[in-house]
C-alpha cells in the first residue's frame, strides 16, 4: 500500500499513542455560519465511538472534514500518526509550480530567438520544454508519495482529499445512501476495493496474467465481503433494486473493500425496522471484534448508541458539550437540555 505521508509536523509519540485519530481544535465556517467550532476529539484504536447531537449540530460536517471532503477553517486532524487534514497552506501555488518549466522554457526560447538563434535550436528548446511541462503536469496530478512529502518542505500543504484518506485507511458510508445505483452489488464492492487492486490500464488492455489473477481474486474477496454483511448470493443484483436495509449493508461492504482501519458510519440504522436495527448492531460489533476495526458512528437512535458505544461525544450548535461513557452522557444535564430544551421556570 502506498500510504500518503502528508504531514511533516512532528507529532509526539505520547500524544497519539493508542489513538487512531486525533482532532485538535477543528473549526469549519461556511461564510458567517460556524458549523463546527473548536472541537477536540479522539478515537482510540479498536473502539466504537459515537457522535450524537440534535439535527444541525454539525455532526455530518465534522464527519466530512475527517473524511477529507471539506478543508477545515482551522485545526488539525492526525490520522494513524500523520497530519492528514489541516487548513491548506498556499495550495494555490501548486499549479504554478507545474507550469514553471513551461515559463522557463518560453523565456529561454524568446531570449534565444531575439539573439538570432537558428530555428533548429529554438525547436530543441521548445521540445525539451514540452517534455518537462508534461512531466511536471503528470507528477502534479498523480501526486506520488515523494511529491506529497516534498511539498510541505517548501511551505505548501494540501489537506487530504477523500481518496488520500481512503489510502491512509479510512472507509465511510453516507447518510443518504450513495451506492453506484446502476452497478451490481459485486461491482459496488469491487469499486470499494479500488485502492487494494493494482492492475493498470495497460494490464487490462493486454489482459496480463497479473490482471486476470487479480480480477479473479478480487471477485472472490468481494463475495466474501458481501457474505460478511449478510448479502450472500446477491452479488448480481443491481444496487438500486436491493431493499433499503440491504443497501445500507452493501454500502458497508463497499467501505470494507478498502480494508480500512477506521470505519465512519453515518446513521447506519436510519429508516430501519427494529429487527434490521438489531442485525446492524450485531454487524457493527462483529466488525470490531472479528476484523479489529475502529468505528465512528453518527446515530440518532439512542438505543443503538447506548448499547454499542464505548464512548459518546455530544455536539450541539457546532460545539462539543459532553463526552464520556454512555451512562455518563445520559446523565449529563447539558445533554438533556440540548435534546429536550431547558427546564421551564
Amino acid at each position: 500500500m502506498t500510504a500518503a505521508a502528508l504531514g511533516r509536523r512532528m507529532v509526539s509519540e505520547s500524544a497519539t499513542e493508542g489513538l487512531l485519530l486525533r482532532a485538535d481544535g477543528v473549526t469549519k465556517r461556511f461564510g458567517g455560519l460556524v458549523a463546527v467550532h473548536d472541537i477536540d476529539f479522539t478515537i482510540p484504536a479498536g473502539s466504537i465511538v459515537s457522535l450524537i447531537g440534535p439535527n444541525g449540530a454539525g455532526k455530518t460536517t465534522f464527519f466530512n472534514i475527517i473524511a477529507g471532503i471539506y478543508d477545515p477553517t482551522a485545526g488539525v486532524v492526525i490520522f494513524n500518526g500523520r497530519e492528514m487534514i489541516a487548513r491548506s497552506r498556499r495550495a494555490w501555488l501548486e499549479p504554478f509550480l507545474w507550469f514553471l518549466p513551461g515559463f522557463i522554457g518560453l523565456l529561454l526560447a524568446v531570449v534565444a530567438a531575439s539573439n538570432g538563434a537558428p530555428d533548429g535550436e529554438i525547436f530543441i528548446i521548445a521540445g525539451i520544454t514540452l517534455v518537462a511541462l508534461m512531466s511536471t503536469l503528470v507528477i502534479g496530478v498523480a501526486r506520488p508519495v515523494s511529491y506529497q512529502q516534498a511539498l510541505p518542505r517548501i511551505g505548501i500543504f494540501r489537506s487530504g482529499r477523500p481518496n488520500d484518506m481512503v489510502e491512509a485507511g479510512l472507509g465511510r458510508t453516507f447518510q443518504n445512501i450513495r451506492l453506484f445505483q446502476n452497478m451490481s452489488a459485486l461491482e459496488n464492492v469491487l469499486v470499494g476495493m479500488h485502492t487494494k487492486l493494482h492492475s493498470t490500464w495497460l494490464d487490462a488492455m493486454f489482459s496480463t496474467p497479473r490482471d486476470r489473477r487479480e480480477e479473479k481474486e478480487a471477485a472472490e474477496a468481494a463475495r466474501g465481503y458481501l457474505r460478511l454483511v449478510g448479502l450472500r448470493g446477491k452479488d448480481g443484483e443491481l444496487a438500486k433494486n436491493l431493499p433499503y436495509g440491504d443497501q445500507r449493508r452493501l454500502e458497508i461492504a463497499r467501505a470494507l473493500g478498502s480494508k480500512p482501519k477506521l470505519l465512519l458510519l453515518d446513521e447506519p440504522t436510519a429508516g430501519m425496522n427494529p429487527r434490521e436495527t438489531q442485525e446492524m448492531i450485531a454487524l457493527i460489533n462483529r466488525l470490531r471484534n472479528d476484523l479489529g476495526l475502529t468505528v465512528l458512528l453518527i446515530e440518532h437512535d439512542m438505543k443503538v448508541v447506548m448499547s454499542i458505544s464505548d464512548r459518546v461525544t455530544v455536539l450541539d450548535h457546532g460545539e462539543k458539550i459532553a463526552e464520556g461513557s454512555p451512562a455518563e452522557v445520559r446523565a449529563n444535564p447539558k445533554v438533556i437540555e440540548a435534546y429536550l430544551g431547558a427546564p421551564a421556570e
Partner: protein, 397 residues
C-alpha cells in the same frame, strides 16, 4: 483476408475450434462470445469485412457505385469508427463531455505529414509514425486534461470546445511549418514490411483498417471490464462517492482523456496516409460534432454500438445523401430534385439527434448500464420497473 496479426495481439484467449464454431447452434455461439470476447471480435470482424468486401461488388451495392469506391468509403468509415471508439472512452465510459476531440485527430494527421512527406524531406516508416502519432496525441490529451479536469460538465465542454477550435487555427497560421490553407500534400502511402500500398486499389487500406478496428475494439472492451473501467463508471455515476472509495478522480479522468486521444492519433495517421493530404479544414468543429453524434446514435458506452453507429452515420453522410440527390434528379421528382440533401446533412443530423433524445436516448445498441441510468427517472416516476429490468430488453420505448 488475414486476421493473423490480431490473433497474435490477443494472447489471452485459448485457440478455438473454428470449424465447430461455424457449425454450432445459437446458444453455443453466444456462450462462446461470452467466454472468449476477443476471439468473437476477431472472427466477427473478419466475417463482416469479407462479406462487405465481396458484397459491394454485387447488386444492390453495384448499382450505386463501383466496388473500389465502396471500399474507399468503408476505409473512411473506419477512420470515423476509430474516432468514435476513442471519444466513447471519454464521453461514454468516463462521462466527460469533450467537444474538441478533432484536435487530437489533427495531431496524429500532422505528425504523419511531418514524418513522411516530400515537404519535410523525411520518409519515416509507417508503423513507427502510427505509434508516434498516438503518443503525441496522448501527450496533448494529458496537456489539455491536467489543468482542465477539475472542471465539471458544461465548463469542461467549453474548455475542450476552445481547444478544438485553437488547434486547427494554429496549424492554419503556422504557415512556415504546415503550409497553411494549402496543407501538406503528397504524403507517403504506407509501406508495411516492404509492402507498398497502391494508390488506386483500396483493398490494402481496407484490410489494414479492419485489423486496426478489431484491435481497438478488443482493447476498449477489455478496458470497460477492468479496474479502471469500473472506476470510470463510478465517477460517471457519483463522483463524490467514487472519491470516498479511494478513486483518484483526477488521474482516472486523465487516463480516459489520454486513451481517447491515443485512438484519435491512430485515426489521424491512418486518415493522412489514405488521403495523402493534410489540411486544417479536415479538423474543424464539425468532425467533433459528427463523431459525438455517432456515439449518441450508436449507443453511448457500448463500443460495439458506437462502431455500428459510426459506420451507419458515415455511410448516410457520404453515400445515402448523395444518392438521394442523384435519384431524385434522374427521376425528375418535382421539388425534391431541387433540394441538395448534402447541404442539409447537419439539419438532418440535428433532427435525428433530437428524435433520438426524445424516444431512445440510450442509442440504437445501448450499453445496459447507460440505459439503466437514462431510464432511472422514468422508472421512479411511473413505478414501472419492468421497463428497466435487465431481462426486459424487448420492451419498445
Amino acid at each position: 483476408m488475414s486476421a493473423t496479426p490480431v490473433v497474435e495481439a490477443d494472447k489471452s484467449a485459448k485457440a478455438p475450434n473454428g470449424a465447430r464454431v461455424g457449425a454450432a447452434w445459437r446458444k453455443r455461439i453466444s456462450d462462446f462470445a461470452h467466454a472468449h470476447r476477443s476471439w468473437t471480435i476477431v472472427i466477427s470482424m473478419a466475417i463482416g469485412s469479407v462479406l462487405l468486401y465481396v458484397w459491394s461488388a454485387f447488386p444492390p451495392f453495384s448499382f450505386v457505385q463501383s466496388q473500389n469506391t465502396w471500399i474507399s468509403g468503408f476505409v473512411n468509415a473506419g477512420v470515423f469508427i476509430l474516432l468514435a471508439l476513442g471519444l466513447n472512452i471519454v464521453v461514454g465510459f468516463a462521462g466527460l463531455l469533450d467537444l474538441g476531440y478533432a484536435a487530437f485527430f489533427a495531431f496524429g494527421a500532422y505528425l504523419y505529414a511531418f514524418g513522411a512527406s516530400p515537404f519535410s524531406h523525411l520518409h519515416l516508416p509507417f508503423l513507427l509514425l502510427l505509434v508516434a502519432g498516438a503518443v503525441v496525441a496522448a501527450v496533448f490529451g494529458i496537456a489539455l486534461g491536467a489543468p482542465t479536469l477539475r472542471l465539471r460538465g458544461d465548463y469542461l465542454a467549453i474548455v475542450t470546445l476552445g481547444f478544438g477550435e485553437i488547434v486547427p487555427i494554429v496549424f492554419l497560421n503556422a504557415e512556415k511549418y504546415t503550409q497553411g490553407t494549402n496543407g501538406i500534400g503528397g504524403v507517403d502511402r504506407p509501406n508495411i514490411f516492404g509492402f507498398q500500398f497502391p494508390g488506386i486499389d483500396q483493398t490494402a487500406y481496407y484490410v489494414l483498417m479492419a485489423i486496426v478496428v478489431a484491435i481497438v475494439l478488443i482493447l476498449v472492451y477489455r478496458l470497460l471490464d477492468s479496474r479502471i473501467g469500473r472506476a470510470w463508471a463510478a465517477i460517471r455515476e457519483d463522483e463524490l462517492a467514487a472519491a470516498a472509495n479511494g478513486i483518484n478522480t483526477v488521474t482516472t479522468k486523465l487516463a480516459a482523456f489520454a486513451l481517447g486521444a491515443t485512438t484519435a492519433g491512430f485515426a489521424g495517421v491512418l486518415n493522412a496516409s489514405k488521403l495523402t493530404i493534410v489540411d486544417p479544414t479536415q479538423f474543424q468543429f464539425q468532425v467533433s460534432f459528427v463523431v459525438l453524434a455517432m456515439i449518441v446514435l450508436g449507443g453511448m458506452g457500448n463500443p460495439f454500438g458506437v462502431a455500428v453507429g459510426a459506420f451507419i452515420l458515415y455511410n448516410i453522410q457520404a453515400v445515402l445523401l448523395k444518392q438521394l440527390n442523384a435519384t431524385f434528379e434522374n427521376l425528375q421528382v418535382p421539388i425534391l430534385q431541387d433540394i441538395d440533401f448534402v447541404k442539409f446533412q447537419f439539419l438532418l443530423f440535428g433532427i435525428a439527434l433530437v428524435l433520438m433524445m426524445m424516444f431512445r436516448p440510450e442509442g440504437l445498441i445501448p450499453s445496459q448500464r447507460r440505459r439503466r441510468e437514462l431510464h432511472a427517472a422514468d422508472a421512479e416516476s411511473s413505478e414501472d420497473l419492468a421497463l428497466i429490468a435487465p431481462d426486459a430488453g424487448e420492451v419498445s420505448l
